[in-house]
Amino acid sequence: MLAGVLLLIFLPPLVAKDLCKDSQDGFKVRLSIKTGLGDDAYEWNESEMFLFRSTLAYAMRKHSNQDTYTIDNILVCNDTQRVSFVFVVTSTDDPDQLIPKEQVELAVRQNKHRINNAFLLSDMTLEFMGIPPTLSAPIIYDTEPWLIVFGVVIGAVAVGIVALLMSTVSKKRRAKEKAAGLSEEDEGIVKENGTALSSLGRKEGVYNQAFSNDDRFTKL
């Protein structure tokens, strides 16, 4: 009688351990708390394990939309120093039946972000072996930022070129007008001494090649 009662008391945990250890539906979890948090790392103890089991139960609840999952549905075994262990999820209707691997995987992937945050870890430091992480989606821009900078720079350069060319054109036009204007004035001026001294006002002197400094040709 006593033996039977004792067996009844100790059977569920033993059975539970068997469910966890031998099952194909379990996942190995690995936490790298010291690597992830450095000096702010917390100790891994029973309370942290409790938190883990409750976050997993939360994930199962959200995934299956059933509010019946409790912490007792999450079984854990193979606890190591590394802080790694295996867990399985039992069904709410039948404690001996396990939720299939694919379901658990979906639940975890959906809520990985929340699970990570509960432990202040990331996809790198809280690993579920066999469940690939869901990386954040790449940001899609309406206009790529590099095009914006490119537009600014090429606009500024284009303005610079146009300004330079305009100033060249206007300088030439002014020179031409001055030349045209002066040639009209010339006819009115009385030429003194037979030399048109007024023509010297046109440019900064006339280049006299007799005094050229350019020895372009070799000396004889």
């Binding site: 690995r30 790298s32 708390i33 010291k34 690597t35 190591t80 120093q81 590394r82 802080v83 790694s84 690939p132 992480p133 869901t134 990386l135 954040s136 989606a137 790449p138 930022p145 590099w146 095009l147 914006i148 900078v149 490119f150 720079v153 090429i154 350069v157 284009a158 610079g160 070129i161 330079l164 060319l165 060249t168 440019k203 006339v206 280049y207 090649q209 400094n213 350019d214 020895d215 372009r216 040709f217 070799t218």
Partner: protein, 552 residues
């Protein structure tokens, strides 16, 4: 009839800065540190400085003298020396043309990287995620994010030179921008160039100085600097060291392109080019050494970072395989633990044995890289690990741009100066139009380098377009000046310009030493070509996802 006086620099300082801006280019940053590393660190300075005095300074001075005396671009100057030598000038112009075509593509790449630095996360810091968001793109995982960004996103490289692919629109836009900026700088000839060189010559030094301070304060930088400066004097016995020193000096000073002749043709007749030649050459070499200190501190940082990441990976591998507590293995005793675990648990160790890497700081430091690989991959990898990486990235690529633009100014001036001397052209077209047409032509031809196989074409041009021709051109130049024009006549011209004759150092170098050196370099290159067989190149194969070799 009036003759427009030849435009000239506003001051001798502008001329010096223009030459510095031209000579100090990308080669100082990405070729010299590599040579230093390959040929015994600090010991390489011995052949380098020796070659500077034997061939660098004399040839530089000679080209300045020719330009200042003849006051014409390269074609006119050589035609004046002897009517049969006009072809030498044409050769210089054609070589400059080749250089202009492919060199501005580097500026396009720098622009691309610069514009992409304005993001919260640098695009080469992380791999892009794959289609179902479970991991990173395979091509990027096998290579590294920086390599992926350069080969796939910047170049969109095809797997061989035969596969053309289309144009990379982003690159084409950046090349267009690069040429528009070059046009803006040279549109008014020396008037506009003279203004610009104040900035392009000095700002790179500001950035290098900032990087020096940042570099030596990085974790692990000292490993790199120490590695570089420990001289391995046995390398001096290797003839390759001396050959590389000679060619580096030669190409770094930009001789033979006609740019120096063009620049000095705008000088005042009595400008003291002799002193300026010495100053500019020394500045150029000094910049090379300065830039290599910066580069080696960056190398040291990158090598230390990689080494420590390797140790961390091994540590995690051991922890995970043997389920040990996290505090048991630290970065320092990883190697001890690996051997211990191998002895105590050989079967379990065998399971992870294939993933064990041998982490070595020496091996990381030994990976010497040069060229675009150094500038765009190694440096950007180091930058992404620095705090405030966007700022450092922007600074660095602006520096690369200024160095590249400064050299482009010289090369484009080498083309437009002889064109401006041709009376037939200047009668029909204004100088602005001629300059615009040259830039437009180079832009259109340069689009070929922005295609998907463009990087391979770039490699061909970079290695073969200018190297042999320049050696030959400068060799003929120095022989012509000394023996055809006559050394005595040249001496008298210099006396006319400077007021004193060149002393024995110059005469010996011009008449004997430099021609001999150039001739032996030329012969060496020819022998190398003949012995080399079919030239090969490194290709990036997307399917194999690592660099393999292809034949041209």
């Amino acid at each position: 009839m009036s003759k427009e006086a030849r435009p000239s620099w506003d001051s001798p300082m502008q001329f010096v800065l223009a030459c510095v801006s031209y000579a100090v280019g990308l080669g100082n940053v990405w070729r010299f540190p590599y040579l230093c590393q390959m040929h015994g660190g600090g010991g390489f300075l011995i052949p380098y400085l020796l070659m500077l005095f034997l061939e660098g300074i004399p040839l530089f001075c000679m080209e300045l003298a020719i330009g200042q005396k003849m006051r014409l671009g390269s074609i006119g100057a050589w035609t004046a020396i002897s009517p049969y030598l006009g072809g030498l000038g044409i050769a210089s112009v054609v070589t400059s043309m080749y250089l202009c075509l492919y060199y501005n593509v580097i500026n396009a790449w720098s622009f691309w990287y610069l514009f992409h630095s304005f993001q919260s996360v640098l695009p080469w810091a992380e791999c892009p995620v794959n289609a179902n968001r479970t991991g990173y793109l395979e091509e990027c995982e096998v290579a590294s994010p920086t390599q992926y960004f350069f080969y796939r996103e910047t170049l969109n490289i095809s797997s061989s030179i035969d596969e053309n692919g289309g144009l990379h629109m982003g690159q084409a836009l950046c090349l267009l921008l690069a040429w528009i900026i070059v046009y803006l700088f040279i549109v008014r000839g020396v008037k506009s160039t003279g203004m610009v060189v104040y900035f392009t010559a000095t700002f790179p030094y500001v950035v290098l100085f900032i990087y020096l301070i940042r570099g030596v304060t990085l974790h692990g930088a000292w490993n790199g600097v120490k590695y570089m400066f420990t001289p391995k004097l046995e390398q001096l016995a290797n003839p390759q060291t001396w050959i590389n020193a000679a060619t580096q000096i030669f190409f770094s000073l930009g001789l033979g392109f006609g740019s120096l002749i063009a620049f000095s043709s705008y000088n005042h007749h009595n400008n003291d080019f002799e002193k300026q030649a010495v100053v500019i050459s020394l500045i150029n070499s000094g910049t090379s050494v300065f830039a290599s200190v910066v580069t080696f501190s960056i190398y040291g940082f990158k090598a230390t970072f990689n080494y420590e990441s390797c140790l961390e990976r091994m540590r995690l591998l051991c922890l995970n395989a043997f389920d040990l507590s996290e505090e048991s293995i630290s970065a320092e005793n990883v190697t001890a633990w690996i051997s211990h675990l191998n002895i105590t648990h050989p079967e379990r160790f065998a399971a992870i044995a294939s993933k064990i890497e041998h982490c070595s700081l020496e091996a990381e430091l030994d990976t010497a890289v040069e060229g675009t690989g150094l500038a765009f991959i190694v440096y950007s990898e180091a930058i992404k690990n620095m705090p405030l990486s966007q700022l450092w990235s922007v600074l660095y690529f602006i520096m690369l741009l200024l160095l590249g633009m400064g050299s482009m100014l010289g090369n484009v001036t080498a083309i437009i100066t002889p064109l401006a001397d041709i009376k037939l052209l200047t009668r029909f077209l204004s100088s602005e139009s001629i300059n615009g047409l040259v830039c437009l032509l180079c832009l259109l031809l340069g689009f070929g380098f922005t295609s998907r196989s463009g990087s391979y074409w770039f490699t061909i041009f970079n290695e073969y377009a200018a190297t042999l021709s320049l050696l030959f051109i400068v060799f003929i130049e120095v022989i012509s000046v000394c023996y055809i024009y006559g050394l005595r006549r040249f001496e008298r011209d210099i006396e006319d310009m400077l007021g004193h004759r060149p002393n024995w150092y110059w005469k010996v170098m011009w008449a004997v030493v430099s021609p001999l050196l150039l001739f032996s370099l030329f012969i060496f290159y020819i022998i190398n070509y003949i012995q080399g067989g079919t030239p090969t190149y490194q290709a990036w194969d997307k399917d194999l996802v690592r660099s393999g070799s292809g034949a041209i």
